[in-house]
């Protein structure tokens, strides 16, 4: 105990060299811990959000983009696809498909995506209602928990969406307000960040975009018949009554067939050769694209991994340099303290005590450097959580300590030990008579 205290007193006796060693060590440890924590949490979030989806079907383009957009709501859509081309997959009697969930995207509310879909979608994420109801009629929405928390919208409130993922004022669809009807419980998945509504709501908003804006009036939207679109009408008043939408609930089949969705999420009954063939067939013989989320996400991780690896390598270099700085500062202080160590021997200390003293000093720097580094890592996570939220649309848990950080402690102490061994051996070999002559 007394040796531990003395080792600390010795360290504090040289505050500048202590600060240098600690800072370097904390920097190395902090960077490594940050990389590990971020990597872990990102991987975890991405995997949670796979939600058992085996295949995503959408417009041709980058399969990674299709997955990022369709499953994680991060990237822009690859484009839309005609509903009639995927209707076969949505047939409940399809031999291979257990569940097919259509998504219509395009609009946002203050940065949160509005997703036109079916009741199957929240089921994928096991989302439950916290209050209110599921959306039923067009322009009714159920909010994900984060959306509700950030926007402070309550059931009964209305809002106006904007086009695209940005929330600037120019792109607002101010002719079609949405009405909040329910709020979901937190699921820890991307579902928390979404505004859920029926596909009809999205179509309704966008069909009007082609029309001249005419607020506060009832008008008829004529859709171009040459495009196979049916005529339909609805009102757009600020105070939406449910009765206004009644006719929208009964969309006739030809109209439905002409409509577009963005992606179709598919769960297979079982993955086998036939499902693989189906994916290949879609990619080769249709205007559609089918991508496997797990494969694309692995590809993304291996791409990101290069960056992570580079930073991690840098962090290990810093850790090595900080180990070197511990070594040098112990070695130098040992030269100055030779007489002091010889004196301790004269007073009755054994060579082993002196060896332990120096080892303890190395371990102490490593230990406190580790504490500072891990603390710094989690503080950085804490203070950058808003930025990370913007970047990934996920809340990171700043105070989630992972098992790897325990291994990191072992690594840190090993560096401290290794740096202290040579000075400690020198202390062990202190020749009293020569030193104090």
């Amino acid at each position: 105990m007394k040796l531990i205290k003395l080792s600390l007193q010795n360290l504090f006796y040289k505050p500048l060299s202590l600060v240098l060693s600690l800072t370097l060590f904390a920097l190395g440890v902090g960077l490594i811990a940050l990389m590990m924590t971020l990597n872990k949490q990102i991987t975890q979030k991405f995997e949670n959000n796979l939600a058992g989806i085996d295949l995503i079907i959408g417009a041709k383009g980058s399969p990674l983009q299709l997955v990022l957009n369709g499953l994680y709501h991060l990237d822009a859509p690859t484009g839309n696809i005609p509903l009639r081309e995927v209707q076969a997959f949505m047939n409940p009697k399809h031999p291979l498909i257990k569940k097919a969930v259509p998504l219509s995207l395009g609009d946002t509310y203050s940065g949160f995506r509005i997703v036109g879909t079916t009741a199957d979608f929240p089921e994928l994420y096991k989302a439950e209602l916290a209050s209110g109801n599921w959306w039923k009629l067009p322009m009714e929405v159920t909010l994900g928990s984060s959306v509700a928390a950030v926007s402070k919208l309550k059931p009964g409130d209305t809002f106006i969406s904007s086009h695209g993922l940005t929330s600037d004022d120019f792109n607002k669809h101010d002719h079609a307000p949405f009405k909040v009807i329910g709020i979901l419980k937190e699921t820890g998945t991307v579902c928390d960040q979404l505004v859920l509504t029926s596909a009809e709501s999205i179509w309704e908003v966008h069909e009007h975009q082609a029309q001249p804006k005419n607020k506060d009036t009832t008008h008829t939207a004529k859709e171009k018949t040459e495009n196979g679109l049916a005529e339909h009408s609805h009102t757009e008043k600020g105070d939406h009554d449910e009765s206004d939408h009644d006719h929208d609930a009964e969309v006739d089949s030809s109209a439905l067939a002409a409509r577009e969705i963005t992606t179709l999420l598919i769960q297979f009954k079982a993955r086998n050769v036939m499902t693989l063939n189906m994916q290949r067939n879609i990619n080769q013989n249709t205007q559609l694209q089918a991508a496997t989320p797990a494969i694309e996400i692995n590809r993304l991780f291996s791409l990101m991994g290069i960056g992570f690896d580079a930073i991690r390598a840098l962090a290990w270099v810093i850790a090595f340099v900080s180990g070197l700085s511990i070594f040098i500062s112990l070695y130098n202080s040992l030269k100055e303290r030779k007489a002091e160590l010889a004196l301790m021997r004269v007073m009755g200390a054994s060579p082993v005590s002196l060896f332990s003293l120096i080892i303890l000093e190395g371990l102490a720097i490593a230990f406190f450097g580790y504490i500072l580094g891990v603390l710094a890592c989690h503080l950085v996570m804490f203070f950058s959580s808003d930025y990370l939220f913007q970047l990934y649309k996920y809340r990171f848990d700043a105070w989630d300590f992972i098992r790897e950080e325990g291994f990191l402690l072992a690594g840190a102490l090993s560096i401290g030990l290794a740096a202290a061994v040579i000075p400690a051996i020198q202390a062990y070999r202190t020749e009293i008579a020569k030193t104090l002559a």
Binding site: E340, L343, M344, V346, G348, A349, S350, A433, L436
Partner: protein, 209 residues
């Protein structure tokens, strides 16, 4: 009580043969000699810091040669107080902690009353909580003497304790060493080339004669 018989020591390129010494409890002995006559070597041999090539040293009837390395470390801490030419301290801790370490390393319980009493007797108790580096050379030497005395040793060995001091301080340090060694019933052996302190001692040994 310290006695040595027939000690010799061999350096790679020089050898020394030392005269026999015997100093009783409360006895004082001055070891004189010019530079290069092996004064410090003699003191280190007596303190068990070096092992003689031939001969025997015994303190309170214990022959040092018969002790193992770790036993010798402990025995030295308990039975021998050493005052060096220069004052050495554990720099990072206060004066009082330095003395406490001396007790602790010798295997004794820490006795703060004893430390303060000793510092008072040597007139440096006001520095008890200062770091040694803040003290003057004379004050540091007094603390060194206090540390040599702290464990009530049988023998106090002093290596040129006055060489760095002016006449007045040298006189005082010698006086203190004699007085305190007597108070603690310890034998005192001073190795020096300092002619100023010759007159104090009846028992004198001349090296290199």
């Amino acid at each position: 009580m310290l006695s040595s018989t027939n000690i010799s020591f061999q350096y790679p390129n020089a050898g020394f043969q030392f005269p026999d010494v015997s100093v009783a409890d409360k006895g004082h002995c001055l070891v004189l000699g010019k530079s290069g006559t092996g004064k410090t070597t003699f003191l280190h041999l007596l303190a068990g810091l070096l092992t003689p090539k031939t001969g025997e040293i015994s303190i309170d009837g214990q022959v040092l040669r018969r002790l193992s390395a770790s036993q010798l470390d402990q025995y030295r801490g308990k039975k021998i107080g050493i005052v060096f030419q220069k004052s050495y301290f554990i720099q990072a801790v206060s004066v009082i902690e330095n003395l406490a370490w001396s007790q602790y390393l010798a295997g004794y319980p820490i006795d703060r009353d004893r430390i303060i009493t000793l510092l008072k007797r040597l007139g440096v108790d006001h520095h008890a909580h200062h770091r040694p580096s803040g003290l003057s050379i004379g004050e540091q030497q007094r603390v060194s003497i206090a540390r040599a005395l702290i464990n009530k040793p049988s023998v106090i060995l002093a290596d040129e304790p006055t060489s760095a001091l002016d006449d007045e301080n040298a006189e005082e340090v010698i006086h203190l060493l004699e007085e305190q060694a007597s108070l603690e019933n310890a034998a005192l052996i001073i190795v020096t080339h300092d002619a100023r302190i010759k007159s104090h001692f009846d028992q004198q040994i001349l090296l290199g004669a």
